[in-house]
């Protein structure tokens, strides 16, 4: 077993009588991407704040990079880099000055600091804007600068709290690429996100946080297997064919407006063949057939009790 970059046991945090974290256990192996998913207010940011030494937990214990959070926060800080949910750049100074500030605070020699700052500005496509005050940057540029600043100290564990919020699709994919490169280089990434696709794309392991406790934890595939969300969708243009199909097939959900039928199932080959055989036997031709396997959206909604998309007899598309 590899060493754990982050190991937490029974983390608790309350604000007044509102319990935000109610006994959270986490284990993140070194060199992996771990994603914490959860609806807004689930406690994701609080977990990041505790693990990055910004706030202290009310209970529980945690080691980050092998150092105890409560007894040796300084060693933890030396090993981590944090990009919080709200832009952690100094808006009054330029992008380059922000980078050099980080280099100074990491006690890099001047020349090396300048080199690293220039490299990272280039890598995050900020070279042209480097001389402008950070307050004039767009949301996406601020976020890129924020992450570039996090990387100045060459951290071995990086916390990214909703890092792609507010980024356009291209910038998001660029950032995903950078995160993958970092992990290839041995860095551990602890990521919170509201984009399920992002967790699915990046994470080795995912934990779903709900009401301050972990509702589920595992690889993306393990989580998808947890709930039955698979179905076949048949769309028709001819109302007659649609009615025939609805009469022929069992266990369907009808959507009369769009002439669409939905068949609950596991999305397996056998289920698909049975369905097609029945349609053939009745001489019915669908205009469009799609097979839907459960994705993280289904898992997410099922586990967090959202708009019950995991339950097969409700049209999930309307829930999004």
């Amino acid at each position: 077993m590899t060493d754990l970059a982050i190991a937490a046991n029974g983390l608790r945090k309350s604000y007044g009588d509102k319990t935000v974290l109610d006994g959270v256990d986490l284990a993140v192996p070194e060199g992996t991407i771990f994603s914490l998913l959860g609806p807004n207010g689930a406690g994701k940011t609080t977990a990041v704040k505790i693990l990055s030494t910004l706030i202290t937990a009310d209970g529980g214990q945690a080691q980050v990079a092998g150092h105890d959070l409560s007894t040796d926060p300084r060693s933890v800080r030396a090993a981590i880099g944090v990009t919080g949910q709200f832009s952690a750049v100094d808006g009054l100074i330029t992008g380059e000055e922000n980078m050099l500030l980080m280099a100074d605070l990491h006690h890099l020699p001047t020349r090396e600091g300048r080199r690293i700052a220039a490299e990272l500005l280039e890598r995050f496509d900020l070279t042209d804007a480097a001389g402008k005050p950070a307050s004039t940057y767009s949301g996406g540029m601020k976020r890129r600068l924020d992450i570039a600043m996090t990387l100045v100290g060459d951290p071995s564990i990086i916390f990214l709290d909703e890092p792609t919020t507010g980024l356009d699709p291209r910038a998001r994919h660029n950032l995903w690429q950078i995160i993958r490169e970092l992990v290839t280089g041995g860095v551990t990434v602890f990521l919170t996100t509201q984009y399920l696709e992002e967790a699915d794309q990046l994470a080795d392991r995912i934990a779903v946080l709900h009401h301050g406790t972990l509702a589920a934890e595992g690889t993306p595939d393990q989580l998808k297997r947890l709930i039955p969300g698979g179905h076949i969708r048949l769309r028709f243009t001819e109302p007659a064919a649609y009615r025939d199909a609805a009469a022929t097939l069992i266990d369907t959900t009808r959507d009369d407006d769009s002439l669409t039928l939905r068949l609950a199932g596991d999305g397996s080959q056998r289920h698909l063949r049975t369905t097609l055989d029945r349609l053939d036997a009745a001489g019915i031709e669908a205009d469009e057939l799609t097979v839907h396997t459960p994705d993280l959206d289904d898992v997410f909604f099922a586990l967090t009790g959202g708009t019950a998309a995991g339950i097969p007899d409700q049209p999930k598309e309307n829930a999004r």
Partner: protein, 263 residues
């Protein structure tokens, strides 16, 4: 790296950051300078004759009043600029960058020390500016020795340091810039209630204790003594005690606020 050299290095980095802020956005500091300069001109050119006649009991003597009022206004300048400190600390604390600093292995106090050093330098620069206006309209301190000049400078720096630490604490407990500005009001009001414009014994008896038992009056009397050769008496020690007391209080107040979990 030893903790002392870490503290020095990180504090000087933070000082550079604060000076950069002040250089890019000087409007806050300059606006705060308007009050003491305006009061100086108002009291000298508009009220000057009446004030001096009232104080000396003799005829109007504007140049004597300039000499009387300038030391108090120099200290008031420090009070004004530290309001800027409270505002900028409060602003800074709402920025994400402070959260970043807290998660970095830097000297914890350097964020505040950077603010204090930057503010003291700004306060000294402001005092020089207001002093220059004073000299331009006729303030002279030619009888003072070099040693007295140095002592006067030392007092201004010490006073600025003390008020700045208090202002940093006020900035830390204020949720936003408006609140910080309000909370720091006493730093502007106290010099108005001191011996800046009239001597203590010219005030009504019930008011004298209010003017006497506060940091500005002993500091003003000491500065007057050093620059103009008037009687200092026990005011020197009192001013020193006020400065050290406020600095220590402000330091522990600010650092304990900053070391806790962010709000």
């Amino acid at each position: 790296m030893s903790s002392l050299s870490l503290a020095l290095r990180d504090s000087s980095t933070m000082l550079r950051r604060n000076l950069l802020h002040a250089r890019r956005y000087p409007s806050l500091t300059l606006n705060l300078l308007l009050t003491p300069i305006m009061l100086l001109l108002l009291f000298v050119y508009v009220f000057g004759d009446t004030m001096s006649a009232g104080i000396s009991g003799g005829g109007p003597d504007r140049s004597a009043y300039i000499a009387f009022v300038v030391p108090g206004l120099l200290l008031m300048t420090i009070g004004s600029t530290t309001v800027g400190t409270a505002v900028s600390v409060s602003n800074d604390m709402t920025e994400g960058i402070i959260a970043r600093f807290r998660t970095m292995a830097i000297h914890r106090g350097s964020v505040l020390i950077g603010h204090v050093l930057g503010s003291v330098l700004q306060a000294v620069a402001s005092v020089v500016l207001v002093g220059a206006v004073g000299v331009a309209i006729g303030f002279r301190s030619t009888d003072a020795t070099v040693l007295e000049w140095l002592a006067a400078f030392g007092l201004l720096v010490l006073f600025a340091t003390a008020l700045t630490w208090i202002a940093v604490g006020m900035g830390l407990v204020s949720p936003n810039a408006e609140a910080a500005s309000n909370n720091a009001m006493p730093l502007i009001l106290l010099p108005l209630l001191s011996s800046t414009f009239v001597p203590l014994d010219a005030m009504p008896g019930w008011f004298q204790p209010i003017a006497e038992y506060q940091p500005f009056t002993p500091a003003i009397e000491t500065l007057r003594g050093l620059l103009l050769g008037t009687e200092i008496g026990h005011n020197g020690w009192l001013a020193l005690a006020w400065c050290l007391g406020l600095a220590v209080l402000g330091y522990f107040w600010s650092t304990s606020k900053f070391d806790g979990d962010p709000r």
